[in-house]
Amino acid sequence: MDPVIQHTILIGMAGLVCGALLALVSHYFAVHEDPTVEALTAALPGINCGGCGYAGCAAYAKAVATENIGLDLCKPGGAETVAKMAAITGRTASAREREVAVVLCNGSRERARQAALYNGVADCAAADLVAGGGKSCRFGCLGFGSCARVCPTGAIEIADSLAVVHPELCIGCGKCTGACPRKLIKLVPESRSIHVLCINRDRGPDVKKVCDVGCIGCTLCSKACNNEGIKMDGFLAVVDYTVPLNSPEIATKCPTKAIAVRPGVKKEAAA
């Protein structure tokens, strides 16, 4: 026989033996995987931000496939992802409005007072443990950027010892809300543009002592909107994000300029 043919048969035989062996093993060691999980994982954005409360996109996909979890938990994915996932699972779901983070403090280095010189770790959680990093206001932003460090999209900028979210970059995963030791960061519907940038619950005079732009509880804003949209909670004005608030001029009412108008990504009307 021609050696070439002989060798071809030889290698072919070897290949056949190996293939058979593999087939046998794969039969006995087969692992069953749910195809929907894979499809769902593919439908998710895959940035593993953890904003849904699960350890990454795959984990959320698995939860959706097996535990009847809501389809609208993926914030970065938005409506598109919800639609895709609904198609895969055959369930119906509607997307929530996309949310973006906002830092409820406007007390930068010039506007808020510093009680003492802080010397230590440049991290908010660490500084908060040491006399609040020397910052007079016990509610305010420490400005060491712990939130910026966890942000997967780099949407948080630290300017003048104050964290500011760039809403156009924010994907609403909410990682920063957990990173802030002072719980200053809140997720709000992206269409909203009016925010009370202060969470200081002390009385007006005490707020005045520590910060120029804090909420002093004067109630002018809540009165201006008839308690709709902005409500008083003790000595603090709080925006009610469930109620529409369309009057940017309300910001001008605030004597300390604690209310900010920040154009949202989408127009209010689109919400």
Binding site: E67, V121, D123, A125, A131
Partner: protein, 456 residues
Amino acid sequence: MTAIRAPFRIRGGVHPHDSKSATSALPVETAAVPPRLLVSASQHLGAPSKPVVKKGDAVLRGQVIAEASGYVSSAVHAPTSGTVKSVTSMLTATARHAFVVEIEPDGQDKWVEPLHPMADWTSAAPRDLVNRIAAAGIVGMGGAGFPTQVKLSPPPGKSIDTVIINGAECEPFLTADHRLMLEQSDAVWLGARIIRHILGASRLFVGIEDNKPDAIAAMEKAMAGADGETGVIILKSRYPQGAEKQLIRSVTGREVPSGGLPMDVGAVVENVATAAAVAAAVTRGVPLTERVITITGECVKNPRNLLARVGTPISWLIEQCGGLTGSVGKVISGGPMMGVALPDLDVGANKTTSGVLAISRESARQFGSEPCIACGRCVIACPSGLLPCTLSEHIEAEQFDDAERISVLDCIECGACAFECPARRPLVQHMRQGKQTVLTRRRAREAAARGKEERK
């Protein structure tokens, strides 16, 4: 019975210069009542007390102004008679905010009502004694401020056989406990016996570091002829000898299990000042409204040991010592190793404030940001057997799971590591950050697990 050397030594530890000579020979002087008292409603570990007075109320000394708001909580009493000026959230001597009752003394210093002295405590039921202690608002006066009545009520199943009175005072500079043992050794001893009686313990020791021979002698004298297994235990002067777990090990050889409490090894530790307060509360019916505070440091003109009312502003205390001199860098509430740097001096002293320390800008420890050079000195210094250098690197890199794996939660924040660190790394701050983050994450994990359970 004679004083004996502690059978065990602490692991690791450091030997800072003790700097106690400025005040160790000065008798405790009673400070006048200041024109304004700032009494915190959160002077203890656990749930903050609930203020029960409001602006304009007249209060008498010993009147409850904030009551305990849970099992691990403690009452707060008016330190003198006067008028409540305000009840607001303010900075306290722990450099944290809490509700503070501001009192303007009327100068009468009138006690609230007939007090109830107890003539014969030896036949009293332990439960009654514990209630008296709870009513007197006594907390651990060594620094942590754990409510004493909780410590004295071990849950069923835990039997306490050893009571240790902590007179180690291993923090440099502080001499409050030292002077108390010298001047009120009988009160300390009385309180110690009351505590032993409450717990039904057989053994009662007073642990004192060997750099205070006069205190050892005074306590021995007070304890002469005592019954049962009692004695002064002379401890080797080494920081942190006075840390609770380390003290228990030095005296009994038992190690409190990781994550456990002293009662898990049948021991209870109380500070000497706490013992004296217990004696006063039981035999005289007096609530805790004053304590000995050492005001010292290179920037205090005339360092003193003062018996001051709880709530006395730190700034006023310093004034009583001639004020500050030189370039003040830092004012610390407590000792230099575990004390808290104060951003503001207008804060009231707490029941746990054992000292006020003003140090110059030159000696105020500056933390650097140099990398770890792995010298291993922190490992040798750590009394808990941790690797502070590695932990700090993990925490700096935000690898909290790794930090948890190598036992960051076992850190007692004594500061021995940072004291030794040649790179001046802020090790203790890293540990505190790490501990807090690990605990927060653990709670979040548990909450998530519970949530999952519920969904199922």
